[in-house]
């Protein structure tokens, strides 16, 4: 059984804090930040190396380091993007008229304004000296535009840009914890909801005391989350959490699944964000809706896979929402074609992967991988008429297999009406499908009892406190850039209570992430 959550009194005393390692911008954060800074096409940033993935997320701070390959690309990419940016010099420099003010004055003004945005805090005299030195290297023997270009390159290669620095000193060297400065909070908030740097409005709010209290930050978080700019970051969480980011490299046996084309795969990839956007920006925000709604968002050949007629979409419009036939037992994210395709094999379904997902990512009880010396080759499709029969060996082989597999298989086998590309089937190989199952070993009474099929399974999961707590933990990892530690109990408790209190409102969960000790403080570490 998991440990009891800490009491309010314990949390009021202030637990020791956990250090988050220095957070280098991820590849997507870099691209988003530069796009907001320079308003240019940032496709040149695609050559940055992919970030290492830890615990399913690509923003784990511990391994966000700068290798020689990163260094090389930071130089080359900043050069390419700076060059694009100065093609629209007037836009970039706020229309500073060099004929009136003089080039140096315009450059200095740009250093001050651009520096604040790039470094996500007011510039110091030293920052401006360095930026003007870069300007000089471009202006001398060159031009004003080249000077500005060099300044941008220098800013984008600076550690003040590449890392989300939190260096505001504490009140005294003995204090165990340090409160983040308003600018540091602004950065945390903008990267949480936008995966990008704070804009001028947010920096102004930080400067004028508008991010000083938890209530202010919560209000600001809600305001930012209401806008469309928040969709990319929030969807990034869902794509990584569900594993659907791997759709791009998912392949299927083309004899068995000839319809699994690039076009179909792209349509699948578009469905999850369309669904998330619908629930979180046009719907009731609820996790339960995300887990149970029998709807799909179709484009291209996806409608055909779901067996529905899609109303014709206006050209250029996104995926179209359709209700799926009740008999299919579709239920939100867990039965989306993209999710089911990723959690499967090229030639058949994987009840193990599907059950493992529920176990690890919805119940936070990850089962370990199989023992080293067993045959884990997947039985070929011919070997048993249905998956339930093919995988029966997990139970009959005895405790060494059944011990873990009973935690996964009885869940995953409930999905068998959906084949390896997520299409509904009444039978497999002419056999009737038994999609009853059970969740064993959970810590929530809500999850006990047998169920028949995915709709019933999803209903149990949607009402479960353990599931909500697990999702909160997953989001904590994503938001914090690290795994949770024992000392995060109070912060997790803050998030769990808010999530529960709001009946599983995901927007409130995200807001709650800005209300924790882990968000507001950092431990004092001696330099």
């Amino acid at each position: 059984m998991p440990a009891a959550p800490p009491t309010t009194e314990e949390c009021a005393k202030g637990q020791d804090l956990v250090r988050t390692p220095l957070r280098r911008l991820t590849k997507s954060e870099y691209a988003n930040t530069v796009k907001d800074l320079l308003d240019v096409d940032v496709s040149a940033a695609a050559v940055l190396p992919a970030d290492e993935v830890t615990n399913g997320f690509d923003n784990n701070a511990a391994v966000l380091t700068v290798s020689s390959l990163h260094a090389e690309k930071y130089v080359l990419v900043s050069e390419a993007l700076a060059k694009l940016a100065v093609q629209n010099l007037s836009n970039l420099t706020g229309g500073c008229d060099t004929a009136v003010k003089g080039e140096d004055a315009c450059a200095a003004a740009f250093a001050n304004r651009f520096g604040r945005r790039a470094f996500r805090r007011p510039t110091t005299a030293e920052d401006e000296r360095q930026l003007m030195a870069a300007y000089g290297a471009g202006r001398t023997g060159g031009s004003y535009a080249e000077g500005i270009e060099l300044m941008i390159r220098a800013a984008l290669q600076s550690s003040n840009f590449l890392y989300r620095l939190e260096l505001t000193p504490g009140p005294d060297s003995a204090a165990k914890r340090i409160a983040l400065s308003p600018f540091e909070l602004a950065s945390r908030l903008s990267y949480l909801v936008w995966a990008s740097g704070p804009d001028d409005a947010l920096l102004d709010a930080a400067a004028s005391g508008g991010l000083s209290s938890k209530a202010q930050v919560a209000a600001k978080a809600r305001e930012l989350l209401a806008g469309t700019k928040a969709r990319a970051a929030v969807n990034s969480f869902f794509e990584q959490w569900t594993g659907t980011r791997r759709l791009a490299i998912t392949t299927k046996n083309d004899t068995l699944f000839p319809a699994f084309s690039t076009e179909l795969r792209d349509a699948m990839a578009k469905e999850l964000p369309a669904f998330v956007n619908d629930v979180l920006w046009s719907g009731d925000h609820k996790l339960s809706t995300l887990l149970t709604a029998p709807v799909a968002f179709v484009s291209g050949p996806l409608a055909q896979l779901y067996g529905v007629n899609a109303p014709p979409a206006a050209s250029g419009a996104g995926p179209v929402k359709v209700t799926l036939p009740a008999h299919q037992g579709r239920a939100g994210i867990l039965t989306q074609a993209g999710f089911l395709s990723v959690q499967g094999h090229p030639d058949q379904t994987s009840p193990v992967l599907r059950g493992k997902f529920v176990r690890a990512m919805l119940l936070c009880q990850p089962p370990p991988p199989p023992p080293a010396d067993v045959d884990i080759s997947v039985p070929s499709v011919e070997e048993g008429a249905t998956a339930r029969i093919r995988f029966a060996a997990h139970e009959s082989a005895g405790a060494s297999c059944a011990g873990c597999h009973k935690l996964m298989d009885p869940i995953g086998l409930a999905f068998e009406h959906f084949d390896a590309v997520g299409q509904y089937r009444e039978q497999e190989n002419g056999q009737t499908l038994d999609v009853t199952g059970e969740i064993l070993g959970a810590n929530d009474a809500q999850l006990t009892g047998r169920f028949n099929g995915t709709a019933e399974l999803a209903a149990k999961l949607a009402n479960s406190e353990q599931v909500r707590s697990c999702v909160a933990t997953q989001f904590f990892r994503f938001a914090s850039g690290r795994s949770e530690a024992a000392a995060d109990a109070c912060s997790l408790s803050t998030m769990n209570q808010a999530f529960e209190g709001a009946n599983g409102d995901v927007i409130e969960l995200i807001v709650a992430a800005t209300q924790t000790d882990a968000f507001w403080f950092r431990p004092q570490v001696a330099p």
């Binding site: 830890t54 380091t65 130089v75 870069a134 080293a372």
Partner: protein, 466 residues
């Protein structure tokens, strides 16, 4: 030698075929010195091997290649089979108080570091123990720092369909928790090796390029200074990170500002030809072969042109689930993925044959690479002779996830440091992988290295090799 002027457009069109040679190095570094530099290459393929079809039969100097390694026949007298290397105790099951990470993960993180993975919750393994990333510097990075070769790239990491970004996909580490990602795009590799941005063959530099270099130097000085200032303000662990950042920036600075020291090593590799690259779609699984060939051609050229002397070439990731639909077994395309197939215990049947076909296919790719290396003449030797290639995989017998008998083969003789053409069987008295790494360091000229990796591993070189 007659330096030829060339345009970048010509290069990319590939009109300069095998007959044209481009001196891509500093003109001062001309002929006269016949001693070519020694090179170190790590060539990794995933998922272990099947011992019964891998190891040769016969005696030390008179042996016959087995089924899986048959494609290496043309280079047999340049191969050294090492049967008897185990991963050290810190990487074995149940040893030293626990197990950190799955066998695949341990075999990956420990391959070139000879160290266990870090404790941590990041990656799950059987038995409910978890692990983090690799815990120390890998040999390729050690040699790059220790030997500081005067080449444009101190070291180069290339990958073929690696794609994965977890612990099972990283063999190179600059330090604990500092994995080095491989370059996967042949077009990108081509552009940094052979693209624009170099002095002209006659030693002059276009003014625009000279200005770019000078400006880059200014920016490097500013950003490095700032990083150093920040290092004084952060905690000890973050300081390690910023220090690694600084090292990385200094590493790339040399070749991005046209520093004259780059590429001035001695040797006959002063003439080389950039390879012609076919168009490869990295997203198409079936183009594994083409992607691999492009990277292998680039790797060989990079070594021949002395752009680097330390190189890793990684196929897929450990526990690879790559498909091989273009390989046929009993008249049908292989339908399962490599990892799943590698766990079938049957000693006959479809999976048995499919596994052997895949392993042999990987050996063919190594054969192609060795052939490329062998095609570059360096004095009275070849580039292959002057290189030591370590063919490695993350586990031994696939079905067992074994780590006590690793299927390591060396190719080339490191300029004579290694006496090749031997099948060394010391499986009755096994040696730790630490010792192999020390031997490789010695072969590369770092002769003062006495131990490498976790202290639980034996010290000193592999005595059977010398």
């Amino acid at each position: 030698m007659n330096p030829l002027r060339f345009s970048r457009r010509n290069l990319l069109r590939g009109t300069l075929a095998a007959t044209a040679a481009i001196p891509l190095l500093n003109a001062q570094r001309a002929a006269g010195d016949n001693a070519s530099p020694t090179r170190f290459v790590v060539f990794t393929t995933p998922n272990g091997t099947r011992n019964s079809l891998f190891w040769p039969t016969g005696s030390e100097k008179s042996f016959t290649l087995n089924q899986i390694t048959a494609p290496l026949e043309p280079y047999k007298n340049k191969l050294t089979f090492l049967k008897g290397i185990r991963l050290n105790d810190s990487l074995q099951n149940g040893a030293l108080g626990g197990t950190l990470g799955s066998e695949h993960a341990r075999g990956t993180g420990g391959m070139l570091t000879a160290r266990p993975l870090n404790a941590g919750k990041e990656f799950i393994s059987f038995g409910n123990t978890t692990s983090g990333w690799g815990s120390g510097q890998s040999l390729d990075q050690y040699l790059a720092t220790r030997l500081a070769p005067p080449t444009k790239f101190k070291n180069l990491q290339l990958g073929v369909h690696v794609r994965d970004t977890e612990v099972r996909a990283r063999i190179s580490y600059t330090a604990s928790n500092q994995p080095v990602p491989p370059r996967e795009d042949p077009k990108d590799v081509f552009s940094v090796l052979f693209g624009a941005g170099m002095s002209n063959p006659d030693g002059t530099t276009d003014p625009a390029l000279a200005r770019l270099w000078a400006q880059r130097k200014s920016v490097f000085d500013l950003s490095n200074g700032e990083t150093q200032r920040l290092m004084r303000l952060v905690g000890a662990e973050d300081r390690l990170k910023l220090d690694a950042h600084l090292t990385a920036m200094r590493d790339v600075e040399q070749r991005l500002v046209g520093a004259p020291s780059m590429g001035s090593g001695s040797g006959t590799g002063s003439m080389c030809t950039p390879p012609t690259l076919a168009n490869v779609d990295l997203g198409v699984d079936e183009q594994y072969l083409q992607a691999g060939k492009a990277q292998m051609d680039l790797a060989a050229a990079a070594l021949a042109c002395d752009q680097t002397r330390i190189l890793t070439l990684q196929w897929s990731y450990s526990e690879s689930e790559h498909l091989f639909r273009y390989l046929n077994v009993s008249g049908k395309a292989i339908s399962g993925n490599h990892h799943a197939i590698s766990h079938d215990f049957a000693s006959s049947g479809t999976n048995f044959l499919a596994y052997n076909a895949i392993q042999t296919w990987y050996a063919e790719q190594l054969g192609y690479f060795l052939g490329k290396l062998d095609s570059y003449k360096e004095g009275d030797r070849t580039l292959l002779d002057n290189t030591v290639v370590l063919w490695a995989t993350e586990i031994g017998e696939s079905t067992q996830h074994d780590l006590t008998l690793m299927p390591y083969v060396l190719a080339g003789s490191a300029g004579g440091a290694i006496s090749a053409g031997r099948y060394l069987d010391f499986s009755n008295a096994r040696k730790d992988n630490n010792q192999l790494l020390v031997s490789l360091a010695h072969a590369m000229g770092a002769k003062d290295l006495t131990s490498f990796g976790d202290p639980s591993g034996a010290t000193g070189p592999l005595s059977v090799l010398t």
